[in-house]
């Protein structure tokens, strides 16, 4: 194809997206669109998968059967989200093995928030309430993104997320209304998860690189700063309602903006964690790669068994 022809196709392609048409797997697309989508969707899938680790940590120690079945169901949902997203990603011609390889070799990123430890039961409350809360804010606009398989996966994901946040908040309510020690646990978890949750919505607009192109392709509909403000405005009253204090001395209602002003975010910490120096980066990758490698014999055995069954069926047919 000549350069001119490609330019032409690109113009038509952009116009389709501007008209709110969806792009489907076999449609012509610019190479950059394909690459950007593989990157964002796989990063998203990896986050769902690695995100199971901090919560999986508490399943066997949940304080009651009710909490245990809920947490188990939530973690199972996150596995499902990872699978929806990997399969959407594979429609762009990349294999599951390549995607895993990118995660395991550290070439691909996942959300930094999962590199923080879950040290008490209250962290299950804070993670569901804040981390899933921030994830919902990030994900809802993606239900209308331009790439069909991604948009459809996000619709399923968003439907399932709201239970995650509610089960987390319910844990916080119970602890906040419990003994002084329990309330202290809840406050401590909020103190530790608040700032990383704000960082989860991404670098400030001034520092964010891909935004303009992503806006055009509807991979992003609102800026990181707008999403963060939305998260803060909706979460502060939820903390107040259960008598917990947001750990930010500068947090103040701004009558004129009808929004909360908030303190400085420690972006050095954010970049440190992104670069691999967070409290649990190594531990998370070790657990993930370990699970993959130790599971290899199971995958091989399943393939061998499938082949044996197939051979037996063929023999019977003769």
């Amino acid at each position: 194809m000549s350069e001119e022809q490609i330019k032409n196709l690109e113009t038509q392609f952009e116009a389709r997206i501007a008209r709110d048409e969806k792009i489907e797997p076999k449609d012509w697309m610019p190479e950059k669109y394909r690459k950007t989508h593989i990157r964002q969707m796989s990063q998203h899938a990896h986050s769902e998968i690695v995100g199971m680790l901090p919560e999986g940590n508490w399943i066997t120690r949940a304080p009651s059967l009710r909490r245990k079945v809920a947490l188990l169901a939530k973690v199972q949902d996150e596995a499902g989200h990872g699978l929806y997203l990997y399969s959407a990603c594979e429609t762009l011609g990349v294999s599951r093995e390549e995607l895993y390889e990118q995660l395991h070799s550290g070439k691909a990123k996942y959300s930094s928030i999962f590199n923080y430890p879950t040290v008490t039961w209250a962290d299950m409350g804070a993670v569901g309430w804040l981390v899933d809360g921030a994830a919902i804010i990030n994900q809802v606009p993606l239900c209308n993104t331009s790439y069909g398989p991604y948009a459809r996966a996000m619709v399923r994901v968003c439907k399932e997320e709201s239970f995650h946040q509610r089960q987390g908040y319910e844990i916080m309510i119970k602890l906040a209304n419990g003994t002084p020690e329990q309330k202290e646990l809840a406050q401590d978890a909020l103190n530790r998860w608040w700032w990383p949750s704000l960082m989860m919505l991404g670098p400030t607009d001034a520092e964010s690189i891909h935004t303009e192109q992503s806006m055009k392709w509807k991979l992003k509909r609102k800026s990181n700063d707008d999403l963060r403000q939305q998260f803060i405005d909706q979460t502060v009253p939820q903390a107040e309602l259960i008598g917990l204090t947001i750990p930010d001395a500068d947090l103040k209602w701004n009558e004129e903006r009808q929004s909360y002003d908030f303190g400085e975010i420690n972006w050095d910490e954010f970049w440190q964690v992104v670069k691999g120096h967070g409290p649990c980066n190594k531990e998370r990758m070790k657990a993930r790669v370990g699970a993959w490698e130790e599971g290899e014999w199971v995958r091989d055995a399943a393939m061998a068994y499938a082949e044996k069954k197939r051979n037996r069926k063929e023999k019977l047919a003769i």
Binding site: S87, S95, A153, A302, M303, Y305, A306
Partner: protein
């Protein structure tokens, strides 16, 4: 890793309730059709989204190519006589 060792890809179709058609809802990897069905149940019907599941190995699907959409679908565009509104009837005619 050789290709042979990897679990193949399957497309999953779910009927949400009797009376409705099976609908494509995504894909997954599994060693064989039995495992594909079980995985499909766990991945796509955790909240009773289905009463029946079809799985088909992705490589067995033949798909039309959107680049040929012209010759594939355009012949239907100028056949307006396939639609009821093409026919002129007097206003007095009822129930037609």
């Amino acid at each position: 890793m050789s290709d042979k060792k990897n679990w193949p890809l399957w497309e999953v179709f779910v009927r949400s309730k009797n009376g409705l058609e099976h609908r494509h809802c995504g894909s997954l990897h599994a060693a064989d059709e039995d495992m594909a069905l079980e995985n499909a149940r766990d991945v796509y019907t955790r909240r009773s989204e289905g009463v029946s599941i079809w799985v088909v190995e992705s490589k067995n699907i033949t798909a039309s190519n959107p680049e040929n959409n012209g010759e594939m679908f355009e012949p239907a565009h100028d056949k307006v006589y396939r639609h009821p509104t093409f026919y002129d009837l007097p206003d007095e005619v009822k129930h037609m």
